[in-house]
């Protein structure tokens, strides 16, 4: 494998990273909204968001990408392939992050909410200053775990024809036909991306387990 081929893989890696970042940030923003709606105490909001989460957790990511990729265009939105794929990952991530954060919001002891209410803190401040900071801490290991999941999930963008790391690997492997080497390197690149995150996640988990012991 020459330097050119390796650089081509790195270009793929760049798109993998970008797609992950966009999906994570977009998913984070919408996910927070979903988590808040899910814990809002309003039955209608809670039911709709519960349905949203069930839909995304109950169907394959690949199908979600297909439907978003072709569906957005059908309702009249002309988007770059990459924007369409990014929207797909954002929706996917928002459902998962919404569910993770709902769990951690509910894991904050009830007394905290009651105390804040007793101090007549408005919902916004109660969430922003009291509940969310604690919830975020609780959710951190699971959130990082999902980020790893998301990075790996971006490989499926290859199947809709988006040239990220996995598809770049396929193309290179086809040009030089050394699949063992190429997929080995592709796997290693993903590993280098994900492993530090995984380690950090389990480190946090252990630390929190000790703290709550």
């Amino acid at each position: 494998m020459g330097a050119n081929e390796f650089l081509f893989l790195l270009t793929g890696l760049k798109w993998t990273v970008l797609l992950s970042i966009v999906g994570f940030i977009g998913g984070g923003v919408f996910g927070l909204a979903i988590a808040l709606a899910r814990t809002s105490g309003r039955p209608l909001l809670e039911r709709i968001t519960a349905g949203y989460i069930a839909l995304f957790q109950g169907t394959p990511l690949l199908m979600q990408l297909f439907v978003v990729y072709y569906g957005l265009a059908l309702v009249g939105l002309k988007l770059d392939a990459w924007v369409a794929v990014a929207i797909g990952f954002t929706l996917h991530a928002s459902a998962y992050l919404g569910e993770i954060w709902r769990g951690s919001i509910e894991a904050v002891p009830k007394g905290q909410t009651e105390a804040a209410k007793a101090l007549s803190l408005h919902y916004v401040w109660r969430m922003k200053d009291v509940i969310l900071p604690q919830a975020i801490r609780i959710s951190l290991p699971a959130t990082i775990g999902f980020l790893v999941q998301l990075i790996k999930g971006t490989s499926l963008a290859a199947i809709v024809g988006f040239t990220e790391l996995t598809r770049a690997g396929n193309i290179v492997s086809n040009q030089i036909f050394q699949p063992l080497l190429v997929f080995g390197i592709v796997g290693a690149l993903y590993f280098l991306l994900c492993w530090p995150l995984s380690l950090y996640g389990s480190h946090l988990e252990r630390r929190m387990a000790i703290a709550t012991r």
């Binding site: 069930a54 690949l62 790893v148 490989s155 499926l156 290859a158 199947i159 492997s173 997929f183 492993w195």
Partner: protein, 222 residues
Amino acid sequence: MNYTLDFTPVIEGMPALLMACLGTFGLALGGMALAIVIGVGGVILRDSKIAPVRWLVKAFVELIRNTPFLVQIFFIYFALPLAGVRLDPTPTAIIALGINGGAYAIEIIRGGVQSIGKGQIEAGLALGLHKAQVFRLIVLKPALRAIFPSLTSQFVLLTLTTSVASAISAYELTSVAQRIESDSFRSFEVYGTITLFYLVISWVMMRFFAAISTRYFSYPVK
């Protein structure tokens, strides 16, 4: 031009799609069975007295959990034949799903085993039970009960992951759907319908695990 939704190809392809659901279930169940074997085996080996064995299991878990499934299945299907291992798409898919699910199962089961207090194991040994009996009765069953929810969601995820096996032309729902899509060019209609199919499939899986849970893991324990 106008795009009007047309579900005729989906309706005509319905028998093929329903048959393909069986393929999806087959891959999922095969993958789960293998994942459980790898999971239990991995947990036992992870506590091996031989250090390299422990390292190997840890490395396996980290490697699988930090690389995408698509890359894993490509590797098994396209690269291993060079090393003399050539498998058909369906066995490849089951093995890839089993390995992937197994790595997660090792971590989940280990968490369950750790939740069993040392005292209980010692008590079991003190009562004269064999090591194997202690493992089966005192460790495994209560641990399984504790981890059942995580295992369920991991296995539902595994079921959904079967769709990726279409990339190596395994027989399952997504590949049959792609075939219908390519004959009719009705991508949105086909994939929209299939998405609902998967929703039902994952619901069935969840009911299935819930039933197992009530049947085997509900208190009181015999």
